[in-house]
């Protein structure tokens, strides 16, 4: 089948709904032309559903207010906001009429992970996803990359707000101050004064220089890919420790909004950039020289977004997310080439995927992550509105994937082997049984299976559904069937 041939329409609707989308209760929603249904969804993600969802400034204010140990009400408010953000993410995806766009938004949120697992990011992840990721999923890669890396939530998550240039005015000043304090302490000691607590330890400056955390992850996770990675899909990486350190120096000063409000808006300044922390002088990243100042980061990110290794890395991750744990190398190569040819045009990347005959193979190869499983179950049962009403995470913590709490900057795994632990599968069974105990009596699982899965529904599963002892059991079996667990 060439990229221009249409897949079998009956299979195509089911594949579009479940593999590209997030599951549908009725394939009639997809219509005759599955590719057109997907194409029409390409665009920025819709605004999230929910009321009072905060922007960054509000979220930061809540975080600050909740810091004192006795600020009970403020801590409650922050907790409520974190739950509202979680609900917004789940309910939006579970009810969206543009599920392909939602899937892409979830993919990019995971690619550019910011997790609530750190004190510095408390309450910020919802705002981050709404501001840095969702508006930018269908533009140019450089804009998405820049929005993600320079968002204060990311800057804090990967410690960049603590990273200072060793020769920055701040570190110089702190150095002078601590030298003076040390001298004063020495003088006090030699004059015999007792009881001073100005020992050497407390006079050392807290900040002396770089924190490479964000720089390394930008190169390793967000753009070029880990050195030595790629394998079948062409080389990733191609950067050295010197490049990491140089990028860290470029990143210094990018700290997020200053406590006293935004800096004066004169030309060449950035509200989230504090020049006092910035390492002066030119830096060389991947053989290119960048002058000091906030513009350097934008220039480096533009070059990284243009880099063929970045394109291979991102093409591999997207194909892996969508199609198979080991996606076809030829398709990955076409996708990467398309990014290169279009200077990082993301809609063109998605279009290549939609056009690819490899994407329409009928056997579902991907195991759903817990979040995909929960979202698609809610969509199947048309209960997306109520999904997170009882628990803001819809039970996902027990399934091992608490939303907004990824366990590392690499995000959640897209490999089945990481989700197939016995306890994980057992938890899915229990989640399914619970959902079915609430919904199963009102739902004819046999009809639903046919309407939702169409030709993907196997005879074996159909038979098991027919034989189920009651409605809830049949629905549990449908939710746990291989063709619903996979996509």
């Amino acid at each position: 089948m060439s990229p221009l041939t249409q897949p079998d329409p009956a299979a195509a609707a089911a594949i579009a709904a479940h593999r590209f989308g997030l599951g549908e209760p009725d394939l009639a929603l997809v219509g005759e032309d599955a590719r057109a249904w997907l194409r029409a969804q390409i665009g920025p993600a819709d605004p999230q559903r929910g009321t009072g969802l905060p922007g960054l400034a509000e979220a930061l204010a809540r975080q600050t207010a909740a810091r004192p140990a006795d600020a009970r009400d403020a801590k409650d408010a922050l907790r409520a906001q974190v739950q509202a953000d979680m609900r917004a993410r789940l309910v939006t995806a579970a009810t969206s009429t543009r599920p392909f766009a939602e899937r892409l938004a979830l993919f990019w949120c995971n690619h550019f992970t910011v997790s609530l697992g750190k004190a510095s990011t408390q309450g910020l992840v919802g705002a981050y996803e709404r501001e840095a990721i969702r508006p930018h999923i269908a533009g140019r890669l450089v804009d998405l990359l820049t929005a993600a890396v320079t968002h204060p939530a990311m800057l804090r998550y990967l410690d960049n707000h603590l990273s200072a240039g060793p020769q920055s005015t701040l570190v110089q000043r702190l150095g002078r101050r601590s030298a003076m304090a040390a001298a004063a302490a020495a003088a006090a000691a030699s004059s015999g004064a007792a009881g001073t607590d100005a020992g050497p330890a407390s006079t050392a400056p807290r900040l002396t220089g770089l924190n490479e955390n964000l720089a390394r992850e930008v190169l390793e996770l967000h753009t070029l890919g880990v050195a030595g990675g790629g394998g079948l899909y062409g080389p990733w990486g191609g950067y050295s420790q010197a490049d990491v350190s140089a990028l860290a120096a470029v990143l210094t000063g990018w700290r997020g909004p200053r406590p006293g409000g935004p800096a004066d808006a004169t030309a060449g300044t950035e509200p989230d950039f504090d020049p006092a922390w910035h390492q002066p002088g030119p830096k060389t990243v991947l053989g290119r020289r960048y002058d000091a100042g906030p513009l350097a980061l934008r220039a480096v990110l533009a070059d990284l977004a243009r880099h063929p290794a970045t394109h291979r890395h991102i093409a591999t991750k997207l194909a892996r997310h969508l199609l198979a744990d080991q996606p076809p190398p030829a398709l990955v190569a076409r996708m990467a080439q398309r990014l290169t040819d279009t200077d990082g045009n993301l809609p063109a990347l998605y279009q290549t995927l939609i056009d690819a005959p490899e994407a329409w193979a009928s056997a579902p190869a991907k195991l759903k992550t817990p979040e995909e499983f929960v979202l698609s179950s809610a969509r199947l049962l048309r209960v997306g509105e109520q999904l997170a009403r009882r628990a803001p995470d819809a039970g996902l913590a027990a399934l091992g994937q608490r939303p907004h709490y990824a366990t590392s900057p690499a995000g959640w795994s897209d490999l089945a082997s990481d989700w197939l632990g016995p306890e994980a599968v057992w938890q899915r069974v229990e989640w399914a049984a619970q959902a079915a105990s609430r919904q199963g009596a009102q739902v004819d699982a046999r009809a639903l299976a046919q309407a939702s899965l169409g030709v993907l529904l196997s005879n074996a599963t159909r038979q098991q559904l027919e034989r189920a002892a009651d409605g809830p059991q049949a629905l549990t079996l449908l939710l746990m069937a291989p063709e619903f667990q996979r996509r």
């Binding site: 195991l367 009403r389 009882r390 628990a391 803001p392 995470d393 819809a394 039970g395 996902l396 913590a397 027990a398 399934l399 608490r402 089945a416 082997s417 197939l420 632990g421 016995p422 306890e423 994980a424 599968v425 057992w426 938890q427 069974v429 229990e430 989640w431 049984a433 619970q434 105990s437 609430r438 919904q439 009596a441 009102q442 004819d444 699982a445 046999r446 196997s458 074996a460 599963t461 098991q464 027919e466 034989r467 189920a468 002892a469 009651d470 409605g471 059991q473 049949a474 549990t476 079996l477 746990m480 069937a481 291989p482 667990q485 996979r486």
Partner: protein
């Protein structure tokens, strides 16, 4: 069939008076508020739905029918003697408490009963059983819900969601323990069949099963204990996520304890002066396609559990704190269909038509078999395979709604059980 009697109204009036004066029932959860207005005392109806199709000829074997032994084969031979009811019928030896109640005149057994539905699908039959329609999905609310609609009478479902049978009424509470439902051995076996061609899922499930059976998985968070998770309407108190990240669950042996606890819990609510007038309980796992005589085995275990649950319910309703609740109670035990008369190739039975139902309680005129017995010989069966239905279950519902709950015949005919005007009322209740 019996005629209904005009003095039932008087009886209810007496019950209301008695309960208003004589009942200081100890409320186990004094702080809980229940849906609906408080009408102290009053009749109690418990509907227990046996999902999966209980084999009526195992629960209530027609030992005296000349065709019984031949048709049932191994299924007709019990390890210990069946418990005799009359010359024709007996109870399965796993039902000793029910046998005692029968002897005390508190249990009436219906046989060759069923629904106006003959297609043998669990889903469709349960939909008819609960909706009270004459065919599947003709009605989308429940007969009991419609019978109570417009009144302030309370109903309560002892499961996470409001079951179809109670839908249509606004005053419905649900109560369920706050643990996730245990998937159960039957479901796991079905999943294993589902995963025959999916090795990764199959091996993960098998491993999980093994770990559970060995007891190496984390202990259940609510083992045995019942955290009241009582809320009004559709919701259930169970929340997971942050507090239960370890996600532990009950072992496979737990369903028995859970069912008994649920029956005790139901009793505790029913004895409250402001308790529900109608309660719905589920007992699943009756789809006995194989190994029906195995002991322990799925069917025999389930019969024991049924017996123990009903005994626990009776115990709760006759306890000192319960006052006269048992005398005001009718318990209906029904299933969506019976099973084939003949044994199948796997020592079990397949989906059939007519089966048995139980009506028990202090308000029941028991110690009797209520049946128009059609016989078990092949020519007497429905389509040559099933026990023929000679008593429409809706006649039982109609009788209990009108004579026990005091629902007006007009409301029953027009709303609760449309199309039931021609059905006779049965002689089931004490007058």
């Amino acid at each position: 069939m019996p005629q209904h009697t005009a003095h039932r109204i008087d009886r209810r009036a007496w019950l209301r008076a008695a309960s208003a004066t004589g009942m200081g029932a100890l409320a186990p959860w004094a702080g809980l508020s229940l849906a609906g207005a408080a009408t102290p005392g009053g009749p109690r109806l418990v509907l227990m739905i046996l999902r999966g199709g209980m084999d009526g000829l195992s629960a209530v074997p027609a030992l005296g029918d000349p065709a019984f032994a031949d048709a049932r084969g191994a299924l007709g031979r019990f390890a210990s003697p069946a418990l005799p009811l009359d010359g024709l019928f007996a109870l399965h030896p796993a039902l000793p408490s029910l046998h005692t109640m029968y002897g005390q005149g508190e249990l009436a057994v219906l046989h060759a009963t069923g629904l106006p539905y003959r297609e043998r699908s669990h889903f469709d039959a349960q939909q008819v059983l609960e909706s009270g329609g004459d065919k599947p999905f003709a009605l989308d609310t429940g007969w009991l819900g419609r019978a109570l609609a417009g009144s302030t009478r309370k109903a309560m479902a002892f499961q996470p969601a409001v079951p179809l049978v109670l839908r249509g009424h606004t005053e419905v509470d649900t109560w369920a323990p706050s643990a996730r439902p245990d998937p159960g051995a039957d479901l796991v076996a079905r999943l294993e069949r589902l995963y025959i061609d999916d090795v990764p899922l199959a091996s993960a499930l098998a491993r999980a099963r093994e770990l559970r059976d060995n007891g190496t998985m984390p202990a259940p968070t609510v083992a045995g204990g019942m955290a009241p998770g009582m809320v009004t309407g559709q919701a259930n108190g169970q929340t997971n996520g942050q507090t239960n990240a370890a996600g532990s669950v009950a072992p496979l042996a737990a369903p028995r304890q859970a069912a008994l606890n649920l029956a005790r819990q139901a009793a505790a609510f029913l004895i409250r002066p402001d308790g529900p007038q109608a309660a719905v309980l589920d007992l699943g796992g009756w789809d006995s396609h194989a190994n029906q005589v195995a002991d322990p085995g799925p069917l025999v275990n389930n019969l024991r559990l049924l017996d123990a649950s009903l005994a626990a319910l009776r115990e709760g309703l006759t306890a000192p704190a319960a006052g006269d609740t048992w005398r005001r109670t009718v318990v209906l035990v029904v299933t969506e269909f019976g099973r084939t008369v003949a044994i199948n190739g796997t020592q079990g039975t397949d989906h059939g038509s007519g089966g048995a139902a139980l009506v028990l309680g202090g308000a029941v005129r028991g110690g009797r078999i209520v049946t128009d017995w059609p016989g078990l010989a092949p020519a007497q069966r429905f389509e040559g395979r099933d026990l023929r239905i000679t008593t429409d279950l809706r006649a039982v519902f109609k009788t209990v709604l009108i004579e026990h709950l005091g629902v007006s015949p007009a409301q029953v005919a027009q709303a609760a059980l449309p199309g039931s005007e021609h059905l006779p009322r049965l002689d089931l209740l004490r007058s």
